[in-house]
């Protein structure tokens, strides 16, 4: 599916509203991260970069998207619904008994999901396995791994970072949602990650840093990641957690919390007024 920039911007706002509504209905889940990463997913799925076919989700030549931070489920589900994998209507069952929309994604229950995930810090290893597998199978496909910044604390992540550098996996693009929050607080207080760029570079990666709310920057970075040879690429996408809802923005308390009905009303009011106004506040 390929949309214009304008349409992608609008879709990002719509998806934000749907996430908030979904979480109110579910009564539990994660809020700030999914709201902050919308543009990353929209750029990937709706700009024409990613090779996928919702009518044939197991198409062998599809690009692989490994979601390492499964708690972004509300965002992932909404994006995949808009991409045509399943009806948007079904998302109301999120986190309910018997639903295919589990609190964290289960690949056996939904098309378009490559790995059942949840525990963070293991997606990059799986993406490496797929990138190695693609090379062994002589398949020209790109493996994307979407990660959070909190999981940069995990030992497993760095085992994988080292391995991808060693194996020069140029069919691998990692995207880190650098929103600076995790459950216990700001990343730099919980466990300082900086200098993150230099860390990845010293492990043999090409690093691109972008404004993660700027869809054209995301598209440009992903495209250029595909043309880098002999190195894996990581895109560090700086984002604002809770983006679009003023009382959630930059508040790490909203990592794993959902709005009540009053807060939802206010959040939706703010999001409705956001059309055409998304701009980065990072500068």
């Amino acid at each position: 599916m390929k949309l214009t920039l304008k349409k992608m911007d609008d879709l990002a706002i719509t998806i934000r509203q749907e996430i908030v509504e979904m979480l109110l209905e579910a009564k539990s889940g994660h809020c700030a991260g999914p709201l902050g990463a919308v543009e990353l997913y929209v750029a990937l799925y709706f700009s024409g970069i990613l090779n996928y076919d919702p009518k044939n989700p197991n198409w062998e030549k599809r690009d692989r998207v490994v979601i390492s931070n499964g708690h972004y489920a509300p965002l992932i589900y909404t994006v995949l619904a808009h991409a045509g994998y399943f009806p948007l209507e079904e998302l109301k069952t999120l986190r309910k008994l018997g639903s295919n929309f589990q609190g964290h994604p289960n690949r056996l229950l939904l098309p378009g999901i490559e790995t059942s995930s949840g525990p963070v810090g293991e997606g990059l290893s799986q993406a490496i396995g797929m990138a190695l597998g693609a090379k062994m199978n002589k398949e020209k496909l790109q493996v994307y791994c979407l990660m959070g910044d909190g999981e940069q604390d995990c030992g497993n992540t760095w085992e994988a970072v080292m391995m991808a550098g060693k194996n020069q996996l140029d069919n691998l693009t990692a995207i880190i949602d650098r929103n600076n929050i995790q459950i216990d607080g700001f990343t730099e207080n919980v466990m300082p990650l900086e200098p993150l760029k230099e860390k990845y570079e010293s492990f043999g990666w090409k690093v691109l840093e972008i404004d993660g709310h700027n869809i054209s920057e995301v598209i440009k970075a992903v495209n250029s990641s595909k043309s880098v040879f002999v190195k894996p690429v990581v895109i560090i996408a700086h984002t604002i957690p809770g983006k679009g809802v003023d009382f959630m923005q930059w508040e790490y308390q909203w990592h794993g919390k959902v709005p009540n009905s009053k807060q939802t009303e206010e959040a939706l009011r703010q999001l409705r007024n956001l059309k055409g106004k998304i701009e980065s506040e990072l500068d």
Binding site: T115, G133, M136, N156
Partner: protein, 333 residues
């Protein structure tokens, strides 16, 4: 006496019986598996020769992945390879895999339903001089609780070879537990092997006198010790039954029930913690289906220590004498 249907090695109690480490059987089997199925890939974490995986690496260098000392990463990579149509075989010491990477196994393999074969070597006290830090005594328990995972503790090198070959064919993930030490190769090429099937190795016949009512379920290289004990007990006029229960999960419920019903009591024997081990698996099943007294022979909530393999087996009460004593105690002799 020996069950003739099982076709055990006729030299079983001869001093000239071959002693081979089950790791060698696994290493050979892995090469055969690689030849038979090009989807087979192998991963190891800096213990390649020790696991005998260099045989596969030398034969299929493009299908071998060295991950360094990074067992968690190794599991995730295996999951990704499985998603790419491969059949990954993961080797390390059992203390580290499944010891260090259990959550990755649970999430990225079992819950994610990607098939991989796990080979945990240096399991049990027989690791010897390296001591307790390297003697995995908990791995059966760790793997047995995972859905979509079978568990095997081969009784000798030939079973280890058959185990890896059958694991390739098996629809689910499989854990194969291997000891470090050499042990007698008492089965033969003709001895049948199947995941989920136990075997009656020693059963009373008319000449053996009346069955005492004691059945031993053993796994791993201790099966041989149980057979030695059975032979010596027979000489003392005590006739028992020995089952090779090396295919631990799925449990061969039919066979377990059959012999439980004929027994007054059973003994389980394993080089593993009693808690959560092979004996526990049998007890869970029998307590619901045919409760009877069970004597658990294994490690009782403690760690091992340095020493020679044989010394440790004796010290922790898993040797020949201990088995005979346990039988007599259960029989109140």
């Amino acid at each position: 006496m020996f069950n003739p249907d099982i076709k055990l090695n006729p030299k079983i109690f001869s001093e000239t019986i071959k002693q081979i480490s089950p790791r060698d059987g696994f290493g050979e089997g892995l090469v055969i598996a690689g030849e038979m199925d090009e989807r087979v890939v192998a991963l190891c974490a800096d213990v390649t020769e020790s696991l005998r995986m260099h045989l596969f690496r030398n034969r299929f260098p493009e299908r071998f992945v060295e991950v360094g000392i990074a067992e968690q990463n190794m599991v995730g990579i295996a999951s990704g390879l499985a998603a790419s149509g491969k059949i990954p075989v993961i080797g390390s010491y059992a203390v580290f895999s499944p010891g260090r990477n259990w959550e990755q196994i649970r999430t990225t393999i079992c819950y994610n339903q990607q098939k991989a074969i796990f080979v945990g070597s240096h399991a049990g006290l027989n690791v010897g001089p390296d001591g307790a830090s390297h003697q995995a005594l908990e791995d059966i328990a760790l793997m047995r609780v995972l859905p979509n995972m079978a568990v095997i503790s081969p009784a000798d090198a030939l079973e280890a070879r058959k185990a890896i070959l059958s694991a390739i064919e098996y629809p689910n993930s499989v854990y194969i537990r291997l000891p470090r030490e050499k042990s007698p190769v008492f089965t033969t090429e003709e001895t049948s092997w199947e995941i989920g099937k136990s075997k009656e190795l020693w059963i009373p016949n008319s000449k053996d006198g009346q069955f005492s009512g004691i059945t031993i379920f053993a796994c791993g290289h201790l099966v041989y010790k149980a057979l030695e004990a059975a032979k010596e007990l027979k000489e003392e006029g005590i006739s028992i039954i020995v089952i090779n229960n090396s295919a631990i999960k799925p449990l061969d419920e039919k066979l377990v029930l059959k012999w439980a019903k004929k027994s007054k009591a059973i003994i389980t024997l394993e080089e593993h913690q009693v808690a959560g081990g092979m004996g526990s698996a049998i007890a869970e099943f029998l307590s619901e289906n045919h409760p009877l007294p069970i004597k658990f022979m294994g490690i009782k909530d403690e760690f091992g220590q340095s020493g020679q393999a044989e010394e440790l087996i004796e010290k922790y009460g898993l040797g020949n004498e201990a088995i005979k004593e346990a039988v007599k105690k259960v029989l109140n002799i």
